[in-house]
Symmetry: D5
Subunit: 91 residues, 10 copies
């Protein structure tokens, strides 16, 4: 089942730069593992912003929440989820 997810990353001022870099590296690794597993089929950068638009393909809401809420940068992200249905004109 597909979900449209927008993530805006907002690291707080004063965060330890080394810790932030470590979290970003973990986030990248985690994200690529999920992409390879087919759970995160699309990941795009919004031009000019520290934000992304993603498509997730997971079994249900619980799996989606489990994946998102354990992302290393989750505490510093604003996330908006939109459930996607099949469009009658899609081929």
């Amino acid at each position: 089942m597909l979900y449209h997810v927008r993530m805006d990353v907002r690291p707080p001022h004063g965060i330890d730069p080394a810790r932030l870099e470590a979290l970003k590296a973990e986030e990248k690794e985690r994200s690529q593992a999920l992409q390879r597993a087919g759970k995160w089929p699309h990941l795009w950068r919004i031009a000019g912003q520290y934000s992304n638009v993603s498509i997730f393909d997971v079994a249900d809401h619980d799996e989606l929440h489990a994946l998102l809420s354990t992302l290393p940068l989750f505490p510093f992200m604003e996330i908006e989820v939109t459930p996607l249905a099949r469009h009658p004109s899609a081929i």
Copy 2:
């Protein structure tokens, strides 16, 4: 080049129902031609709304505007365009 496009369809009260159905049929046909041509690679329905999330893959802003502004339902849509860049973590 990829663009994220959200379209909310708002047909005005009082529109002739037959004209609206005709416009919807033309819209579907136009949308499917663009999908087949690779210009509109993704089209999803937002669950519970007369809205869609789409990804367009076109040469430039002018081509995008030409495609969107000639959609049969364009006069009745609110459209929001977001340019998408490659994400450094995308595989």
Copy 3:
């Protein structure tokens, strides 16, 4: 799977009153059939507004959209869908 749905009903000025009453009657009948089928387990009126808060329990996004988009008052409603996951403190 559970979805939180808020519906705000906005009948346009100038709608034929008899048609509106007929649509409301159909909406009620449809809503009660879905409640009896277990698809719409909660339906509450927001005090002071022509709006409701509902919980739907359906198989997936497509079923949710199919149910909502065929409600008789759908053309006159603003609908907002929020996917609900299990809360770790829920008993």
Copy 4:
């Protein structure tokens, strides 16, 4: 009497992690006691967010405020309350 309550948890950057964990544990205990007492009949997680949607069933506004304002995480939550009336189509 039923109230729809949305809570968004926003722990401030710089809060002591041990204190936060302790508050979360107290919050969970408190929440489950209220659920068992029938005061908090529904508690759902909003997918992708550190937020919940809850239904409270209490005697009046004063009791609701007393319960919410003494939750351990209350100082770090944005809370929105919506009074729910019986819906004429509810079965």
Copy 5:
């Protein structure tokens, strides 16, 4: 139990003026009956707007909704309800 209610009156363009005047007269009569009954203890005009701020004192959400939703101007009003609790500093 007290509720804070804001009502913004938005008569649609094209409404028959005589009908609107009749509705306003009924609204006034209804409002004054509720004031005399102690259900609507405060009613103020927001300066410069066709809007009011009101305090209702009723048994529960259902009674509030029953009163508000049968006001003659209800179909042309945007209404916002806020439940009021006792303030610990109120004397």
Copy 6:
């Protein structure tokens, strides 16, 4: 002359707890003195929020501003003022 005032209290993270408690105690004393003087005839808590709705009855805008801007918690409050006129249907 009546003014509708909404106050949302937002103590900053990191404020010294003892200082905050002292300010709250002064605020309560100040508020009750103004209530007894008839300047602050109504004070209600918004259920679920660290916010109040108040009615002030003062001579003019300058007196209102003098009272509000010297409240002990003023630096930590968002305040919205709405001037109230007599409603033609008020009895």
Copy 7:
């Protein structure tokens, strides 16, 4: 006492042009009479919009509401009122 008032004029589509012109002429006459009487000391056009920013100098909220609500274009205006106090740095 001074009030800051912003008025946005929104004539509905379909209004009879002759009636609108008549209302505008009455509005101008009324506005100029109030300016000459010292009640409306400042009236500015917001560049690029059918809107104005005004300063009113009247006895109280009731007089302000009486003046604004009887302006010929009142039914087609969105009005926002802000009470102005003396600024401690004003000379």
Copy 8:
């Protein structure tokens, strides 16, 4: 002096199509005359919307308002004006 102007064109449903086309043709002619006169040095279409971003170069606010408020489509446009100053890093 430079002004940043955003115009969103919102023709009302029900406008006579021939009249709308005539207004658009006049608007184009007027716009091009102002461009040739150096008053409207930049005019861009916002991709996907019936909107433009423009830069005007005029003597003062009054000239700007005179130009904008006499555009043929002015009654159907939402216009937002932002005054532009020289940027210290501009070359």
Copy 9:
């Protein structure tokens, strides 16, 4: 040329109180010098808020920006500028 300027002062938590008082004193001095010079003809306090509404009368956008951006409290203010044109009904 006239500009409508709204300034909301938001001193950050943790600013040194002595420094803030010094900045306020400089701001007052600067403001009064500009008032005496005729550049800042009106300055009003918004009742209940640490905000003002001002009218500036300067040669052009560059002079306005130079004045505003060098105010001592500029780093702690949200500022909104609206260009004012002559109103056709102003006397």
Copy 10:
């Protein structure tokens, strides 16, 4: 290809002033290099705000994001990007 970019600079309270000045100097140098290279053809200050409106002329979304996300002040800016197409009335 042209992009309209608005940048609002929001340096956090507590940033080291020397570091901020160094970042501003680097930003200026970087901005002027991009202007000379024809990538950033317009740069204007929004009067009264620490914000700019810019026009970028780059090959595609990726180049735009690469330029913006490496600006020295990027971590302290809110950036909004709008793709600009040719306007049919532009000469």
